[in-house]
């Protein structure tokens, strides 16, 4: 090993070598095991002079780190892959966003169409039994009741039952007011219902008593 190279190594260890020389020597250092061993001993000498604890030659720590890193994927490859992923993500994200939005819109349209078709079927189904009913009244058959358009609304009586069941959490006066409000509301609803609703009530009545 030549003296000039060792002198450069010593200066590089101290961070006193010009950058251009550092580049070349770093390359050699990473490949030359003898040079690396000397570099390691320079570190040991410094640590000994500073009386640092646990100073060893061929310390386990460096060997252990080396062993772990030998099994690690190359960070240059990882870096390039990450960059590529980032590059891909840059155009994939907006396209994916548009795709998702288009998909949601298409599903909404399909759902709305199917709902419209269902309504037509229900209307037809409701209309048909009325005819069948009149023609086959004597067959003892019955018609499945049409789903009520108000089914999503909780009936006032059900709410009143709920209030009574949970009466322990309300004062008697409040409970009474609430119950009377439900009853008034139920009456009001029935009273203000429009003609079509009345018509449907009639149809339901027909469905309830098909034999009449």
């Amino acid at each position: 090993m030549n003296e000039e190279l060792d002198s450069q190594l010593s200066a590089m260890f101290d961070g006193e070598l010009p950058q251009s020389e550092c580049e070349l020597l770093a390359r050699r250092l990473s490949r030359d095991e003898q040079l690396k061993a000397r570099w390691g001993r320079y570190a040991v000498i410094g640590a000994s002079i500073r009386s640092e604890r646990g100073v060893r030659l061929n310390a386990d720590l460096a060997l252990r780190v080396n062993a772990v890193i030998a099994n690690e994927p190359n960070i240059a490859v990882r870096h390039v892959e990450r960059k590529a992923t980032r590059g891909t993500a840059r155009w994939v994200r907006p396209v994916a966003g548009v795709g998702v939005a288009a998909g949601v819109a298409a599903l909404s349209i399909l759902w709305m169409r199917s709902q419209a078709l269902n309504d037509e079927v229900v209307t037809a189904a409701v209309a048909t039994p009325a005819v069948e009913n009149t023609s086959a009244e004597s067959d003892n058959s019955y018609v499945v009741p049409r789903p009520s358009p108000r089914s999503s609304r909780v009936p006032a009586t059900q709410l009143a039952n709920y209030v009574v069941a949970h009466s322990e959490f309300s004062s008697p006066v409040a409970r009474r007011n609430l119950l009377s409000a439900f009853m008034t509301g139920e009456t009001g609803t029935t009273g203000t219902s429009n003609g079509s609703e009345e018509g449907s009530e009639d149809l339901n009545d027909d469905a309830k008593n098909p034999a009449q």
């Binding site: 580049e23 390359r27 000397r38 000498i45 002079i49 310390a59 990882r78």
Partner: protein
């Protein structure tokens, strides 16, 4: 000029996929890092484990290192965080808690032992290296000895040493190199010949 330049050359090589360059960084900073971690944990074996973890974390994070700060400053922060995390998780350990609660004397004794749980072989090795290096330094001509001590113990730059010793920077570089070579020669003689030769040679 600072250590940043040479470290950065090695770091750039690692970032380009040269694992051997990282080995050089580990060899250079392992003692400093263990010493740093031992401010948080007293057990040398635990300190080495934490330092190892810090090096591996640093390696994995190296693609994100841009060189805005010095490599050692960055590594230092990683090691400090690893040491703090290790202390926190050790403090939460139910085994430690049980020891403290049931037998305070035993726990005190454990802590005492943890402070100096270096293996006998390790202690012999450290002493052997230290005595070899000290003997080699004593044997150096005064100008070489002053140069290496100012560099390693006081951390002065070549320019500062040149000013202190009233000589050109090139001479300082040469003196430090020659001092290292003389000490290194003695170290190799001792460790290639086996332990226990330090006294014979000294």
């Amino acid at each position: 000029m600072s250590a940043d330049v040479s470290d950065l050359s090695l770091v750039r090589r690692v970032q380009r996929g040269d694992k051997g360059a990282f080995d050089a960084l580990v060899l250079k900073y392992q003692h400093k890092l263990v010493k740093l971690v031992m401010r948080y944990v007293r057990n040398p074996a635990e300190a080495e484990d934490i330092a190892q973890e810090a090096f591996i974390k640093a390696y994995r994070a190296l693609p994100q290192f841009r060189g805005d700060s010095a490599f050692y400053t960055w590594l230092y922060r990683i090691a400090i965080n690893s040491a703090k995390n290790a202390v926190v998780s050790r403090d939460r350990s139910p085994i430690d808690y049980e020891l403290d609660r049931h037998n305070p004397d035993e726990s005190y004794d454990m802590q005492g032992r943890m402070k100096d749980s270096e293996t006998p072989e390790g202690l012999v090795m450290t002493d052997e290296i230290r005595s070899t290096v000290n003997a080699a330094i004593e044997a150096l001509p005064e100008d070489l000895r002053t140069a290496i001590v100012l560099r390693e113990l006081e951390g002065l730059s070549y320019e500062e040493i040149a000013a202190a010793m009233d000589c050109p920077v090139g001479t300082v570089r040469s003196r430090i190199f020659r001092a290292r070579e003389a000490i290194d020669r003695r170290l190799r003689e001792v460790f290639e010949g086996g332990l226990g030769r330090a006294e014979e040679l000294g």
